[in-house]
């Protein structure tokens, strides 16, 4: 199976000197779902921001075999759809339609195809009825689903989600898990929601203070209570 993502010796420090990532090595197969877990401040979001080149550290990152660099950053951003944790950050245009069409529009697609993609993406997350609404007037659960539509409209090969179920009520959380399960692309999901990770992820990467503390099959990692206790991440 071909590799969707390959990290080799990736490290990153913020300008204030904080080492957010240290010597990260892992790969994700095409079509696989990788869960990213770890305590607050472990570097999960920082790692996600490396996937489409928003943050650049040292080491090598390859997306579908292409080295991530300035020359192919536009192509890689078409392939890697990133859904941020805060939907109010993801939804920055006045209406839902404009937000969902933002990505395809900046890919230079013709208007007809943009419209088709927007309505397909909104249908995929059961939100076609809000296309003309103002983003601010949506509920939190609706905003979260529309956030996912904003990247689905770009038809990414890799979907990256940061805490997709945080602040959602049980009903909307369950709906979101079903939607994510139905999307047949490579997925990388960072979350504290271990139940969701167990239901969606094929493998899990455990981050601890910027290092990859463990990686393996979801059931093996999540059932290893000793590992969790050693890392101070109690279940």
């Amino acid at each position: 199976m071909s590799k969707a993502i390959e990290f080799e010796h990736v490290a990153f420090s913020y300008p204030d000197g904080t080492n957010a990532l240290e010597d990260i090595n892992f790969s994700v197969d095409s079509g696989e779902c990788l869960g990213l877990i770890g305590p607050n401040g472990a570097g999960k979001t920082t790692l996600l921001l490396h996937l489409n080149g928003i943050l650049r550290g040292s080491g090598s990152i390859r997306v579908h075999g292409s080295q991530l660099c300035d020359e192919n950053i536009t192509l890689i951003r078409k392939d890697v759809g990133m859904v941020f944790q805060d939907p109010d950050m993801q939804l920055f245009m006045p209406t839902v339609f404009e937000d969902v069409s933002f990505g395809p529009l900046h890919m230079g697609l013709p208007d007809k195809e943009i419209k088709e993609r927007v309505f397909k993406a909104l249908n995929d997350v059961d939100m076609a009825y809000v296309s003309d609404k103002i983003s601010h007037h949506l509920s939190f659960g609706e905003k979260r689903r529309v956030s996912i539509a904003t990247v689905l409209s770009m038809e990414p090969k890799i979907l990256v989600l940061d805490e997709p179920t945080s602040n959602l009520d049980p009903k909307h959380r369950s709906q979101l898990i079903d939607i994510l399960r139905s999307i047949p692309v490579t997925k990388i999901i960072a979350s504290h929601d271990l139940d969701m990770i167990s239901r969606l992820a094929d493998r899990v990467l455990f981050l601890e203070e910027g290092r990859a503390a463990a990686i393996g099959q979801t059931k093996h990692i999540l059932s290893n209570s000793r590992l969790f206790k050693e890392l101070g991440f109690y279940l």
């Binding site: 990133m82 933002f102 007037h137 990247v151 770009m154």
Partner: protein, 243 residues
């Protein structure tokens, strides 16, 4: 929370609401320019332009109380500026004040009619279609998107302050308010950074792009031709009366 003060009356069922935003922008800005161009001591054109504005006001079905409040909110600022010229005026000072104030009131009324009969989003699209710089349009669309969010954040912070405020200490209240404003500034800055990252992640490279979905209809052409004819006739009447 739901706020709607910008588009409060944009959904009223009137023919003025259905006119293409681009046409409305051109027409109302033309009226303002025509009003500004009326020379001193020529009340007739101002009266004719006033009649036109009143006709639009009636056609728009906007509540008079709403328009009145908006007018009264802006006119005091105009009055302050007009008063600064009042004492320097070489002609009839009272007449000069009335002349400046009526010009300002007409212009403001045109702006209120334009903004209140068009959805803000459509207005921005209209401006963009009329070759207004894309970056400026994007800044205004962000303002529209995040204005409500900042009002929400301000309300939440105010509620948190109220919940922990015991006793009546005005000086402490003022200090806390200053802190809240500071926090709001930092949060807006951070949000700006975050939004930029989200835009980059979806292919933004510094060039603003939008989709245009407007199509001019027969009523738009009739509207723009009628108004321009009216403006031309008014100018002609004014010209004839001058000689």
């Amino acid at each position: 929370m739901h706020h709607k003060f910008l588009d409060e009356h944009s959904d009223i069922d009137s023919w003025l609401h259905t006119i293409d935003p681009r046409v409305k922008v051109v027409v109302f800005f033309s009226i303002i320019i025509a009003v500004m161009a009326v020379p001193f001591a020529k009340p007739l054109p101002l009266i004719l332009y006033g009649l036109l504005a009143v006709f639009f006001l009636a056609a728009s079905k906007l509540p008079l109380s709403f328009v009145g409040k908006r007018l009264l909110g802006i006119l005091p600022f105009v009055l302050v500026i007009a008063l600064s010229f009042f004492f320097q005026s070489p002609v009839n000072r009272f007449f000069f004040l009335c002349y400046v104030m009526s010009k300002a009131a007409l212009s403001i009324l045109c702006m209120i009619l334009l903004v209140s009969t068009t959805h803000f989003v459509d207005l921005l699209k209209g401006f963009q279609k009329l070759r207004c710089p894309g970056l400026l349009i994007m800044v205004f669309s962000f303002m529209y998107r995040y204005l409500y969010l900042f009002i929400d954040e301000l309300m939440k912070m105010n509620q948190a302050r109220e919940a922990r405020s015991v006793g009546h200490m005005p000086w402490l209240k003022a200090r806390t308010l200053a802190n809240i404003v500071g926090h709001l500034f930092i949060r807006s800055y951070e949000r700006g950074e975050g939004v930029y990252l989200a835009m980059c992640a979806r292919g933004y490279t510094g060039q603003a792009r939008t989709m245009h979905e407007f199509a001019l209809q027969r009523k738009d052409y009739i509207f723009v031709i009628t108004v321009f004819l009216y403006l031309a006739v008014t100018q002609a009447v004014n010209y004839v009366k001058s000689y």
